[in-house]
Chain length 213, copies 2
Amino acid sequence: MPAPLSRERIVRTAIRLADADGLEAVSLRKVAAALDVGPMRLYGYIATKDELLDLMVDTVHAEIRPTGDGWREVLRSLAEATRQAAHRHEWFADLIGGRPQLGPHTLASGEAVVAAMGGVALDVAVPAIGAVNAYVIGAVRREITERRAERSTGMDKAQWQAAFGPYLQRTFATGRFPALATVVRDGPHLDPDETFRTGLDFLLDGIAARIST
Amino acid sequence: MPAPLSRERIVRTAIRLADADGLEAVSLRKVAAALDVGPMRLYGYIATKDELLDLMVDTVHAEIRPTGDGWREVLRSLAEATRQAAHRHEWFADLIGGRPQLGPHTLASGEAVVAAMGGVALDVAVPAIGAVNAYVIGAVRREITERRAERSTGMDKAQWQAAFGPYLQRTFATGRFPALATVVRDGPHLDPDETFRTGLDFLLDGIAARIST
DNA sequence: GTATTGGTCGATACACCGTATCGAGCGAGG
DNA sequence: CCTCGCTCGATACGGTGTATCGACCAATAC
């Protein structure tokens, strides 16, 4: 018995499994096995698997804190920190936004953001924070989804095009999507960093207009 | 035998089940049972359950089409239509952004948006569409999540506060979240429609600034 | 010191899931 | 009419989350 069981140890183990092999590798049986314990032991510390997932999400929120001065830098750093957390824990992208989050670390993160917003009036600050959070949730989800798709069809972009190329080529060849075809051919090819930052800048610019007025 | 089995009939049935009882009510066994068929029959039409979910998502995308003139109205209507679709199919919020979407209806929706963006240069139009999509994904997820939370703890807001009030009151009473407490007390209380529209306007304003310049 | 009781803990069991397998049943060819 | 071959779906497998309840052990009563 290396250490007494605890909520925290259970959650840490579950996160380790999820980091290594994805969310579907997190089952109560596997977590229990990794802790050298019978599955039902866990129910002394957590009520349900959903609660474990909530705890995992809240734990990751401990890694997310805004930094910098001024509302704009605060919101940008919040967004960037969330994105980085999702890079460290890809399963985070699957869970984020999917359940109400009232855990201590999540609340602490919200507290830090609100506090750091400085003198911005609440009627603008609250919707602004909400909008940034919404954007980040969607952007991170899409980015992680794309990353996984690329990884699953071989490792690099060449193989990806080889795998989906035929299908896309065929559907584009039908001529039903001329505008999309143009985008693929002539459109900008931004890397994920740029894509994320560009969208975030749109949003922050729009918020800035509402604040300075 | 009322009608021959088909991909479309299977997907429609799955959507009906999901609309009625949520995503967890969609199992291959239940879909098959609703069609008066053995579970394995479905594998003649779909390869895997994930493919069925992808088909469900693509089918909903058929309900999402941009309308109106000018890039701003196009993007706003796209966002609003997506939100409405998620209201009709709450499970859509669980799936959106979670898998690569290359189905015909999804592509058609993308085609319509790109085509309707009019003269906007691709270097702005593409990131703008991406940003709006990201925002919508996150905003819709959060909205549906909240709606479910309220519904699960009794039907109305009073009961919700009664259920979570004690916990929140207690954690706010610790004084660890003074800024959040202020928000709850003095902050704006927007309804979901306003919240969605406000965030979307931030984003569209930011895009407008980049376009007109 | 021993008998009894109370409570805790975890092995077992249940209902359900996605899907691989393979034997039964049937249509076609000789 | 028989036989072959193929298709299709019942059965089965390995997994899931979690309810149940019997075994075990510590503490109490005599």
